[in-house]
Symmetry: C2
Subunit: 321 residues, 2 copies
């Protein structure tokens, strides 16, 4: 979490001249988001977040992300909404980077979610899936099955420096998933990164979802599997089936899972655990000198994967028919 | 600029339970301040900054800093005011660190100050000096003349790795200042670090001063010399006497400099340039692995020092009788 790019008051003033946002009252770089630089912006009109897209976000994807936030907000989901300049465009350029202003969402991320948080997140995830159903754009998931083999190749044999036998475990998992991966589950818009940092609560109420920069078109149930991984394990590595039941129950209170989705859940949980294991591993092995972000522990997902390998049915995640 | 310490929502809630600040609506780590971790806190009552003091601030100094901010605000200076918990105490503990909530100041730091900014800063500095005159506590300047010899010793011969001949230049400067340093100038509370990051403006109006964690008891004119160094040089290294005249004029519109202060200004400018050269040099040579802060360039102050060595009177800084 860092501010990668510095924005001077002069650059900011010049950028904001294209908008109708009133006077600038505060502007502070914030430690939010790993991929981009984010700033809190208070004007005499309202509060906003200004995002500069750093090189890990492909600029050709930005119309999809911005269009999606606008679409979802229009369907009643609480998420940041891109603010348009006087000329009508949401995407601008600041400090040499693509830049967007979005509305500010109140709320606080929870570190240790309770079952009630998991239920609320499950319901919000299903609302997102339904709200996205008539969104016109598509974006393939750049970090799904076809990406995992190249990620493993990038890690190379260095994976074993992180944990003995890790390369071999990933290799075997990948071989299994290449055979077992479900291909015909109901698809649509998924968030694909709904970790605890990306969900805000005011008191006990879910107040909004942020960070749509991994959103793409993929199986709905895969998104749920990502959330089970992100929300329902305890710090000691154990899976909390009460939280899992709350999350799946919250999800199904809005959108019922089909029998094919339920059956695929253990495989999807393995796949999503492998996806985060691989991307974290590559980040871990490639921390650039002077990095402002501490890489996340890949082995957290090695342990989660070990749990999922022993799961035989969705009931073990807390699903109830 | 970084957030060194992570604060979970649970730790925050537990900490805020001792205060009467309403519901938490937002909490974000901000890239402000080099020595401490700072967070933007929005509650249903107001906006605040929460500061965790990291190891470079000595906890025994905190009552001075907090008392000073409260005192100055009470005298009409716009600066952050420590917020007291229900029990009356301003200083608490959060995430294992001393922690304080202060009021939020609107405004934006300017990167390239115009003469009008310099004039406003000069006037605000003099207001600070006057407002501090009846503050009861004292704190010696831990980074004045007696500290420079040990700082040079810490840099050792590594200084020459930063620039050829730097050790010798600092040595000669220090020898000169140990003889020439004025000891009987009017003393009082000084900010001692009023760089552009620490002054906010809303539009053209100065809206407040922040970061009192170098404040101490020292010569008023030394504080002005620090500001001339920080505000009146151009990016190309040249001194802008128009800005200097504006700053000194702004200062004297509130508090006249005595003849002894005017006469000492070139020596004070050399001393303050040496102080920042030395502390930046030591930081530059001691960047810890995994540092979240990029050290500032010490040579900026080597070049400023070269300018000051050629100055013969305060008139060259823009002072007019």
């Amino acid at each position: 979490m860092a501010v990668y790019t510095d924005v001077s008051d002069e650059e900011l003033r010049a950028f904001l001249a294209a908008y109708d946002l009133g006077d600038i009252l505060a502007f502070k770089g914030i430690a939010e988001g790993v991929e981009n630089s984010n700033f809190f912006l208070q004007t005499s009109r309202a509060r906003f977040i200004l995002t500069l897209y750093e090189k890990r976000v492909r600029s050709e994807d930005l119309p999809f992300f911005l269009g999606l936030m606008e679409h979802l907000a229009g369907r009643g989901l609480t998420c940041p909404v891109p603010v348009r300049a006087r000329g009508g465009q949401a995407l601008g350029e600041l400090a040499g980077r693509p830049a967007v202003i979005v509305t500010f969402l109140e709320g606080l991320a929870v570190r240790r979610p309770a079952p009630a948080h998991c239920r609320a997140v499950g319901a919000a995830l299903a609302q997102l899936h339904e709200a996205g159903s008539d969104f016109a754009m598509q974006r393939p998931n750049a970090l799904s099955l076809p990406a995992w083999e190249p990620l493993l190749a990038r890690a190379g044999n260095d994976a074993d420096r992180v944990a003995p036998g890790l390369t071999e475990r990933i290799r075997r998992e990948l071989d299994h998933l290449q055979v077992a991966w479900p291909s015909r589950l109901p698809p649509g818009i998924v968030h694909a990164d709904l970790f605890t940092d990306n969900v805000f609560f005011v008191g006990a109420e879910l107040s909004g979802l942020i960070d749509f920069y991994f959103a793409c078109t993929d199986a709905f149930a895969y998104d749920l599997a990502i959330c089970l991984n992100a929300w329902c394990f305890e710090p000691d590595g154990s899976y909390n089936a009460t939280k899992g039941a709350a999350m799946i129950g919250g999800y199904e209170s809005v959108r019922r899972l089909g029998p094919d989705e339920v059956a695929a859940l253990p495989t999807l949980a393995r796949g999503s655990a492998l996806r985060f294991l691989l991307t974290r591993l590559v980040d871990w092995l490639n921390v650039p000198p002077g990095a402002l972000v501490r890489p996340k522990d890949p082995l957290e997902y090695d342990r989660k994967l070990a749990f999922h390998r022993r799961v035989e049915s969705a009931r073990e995640y807390g699903w109830r028919s």
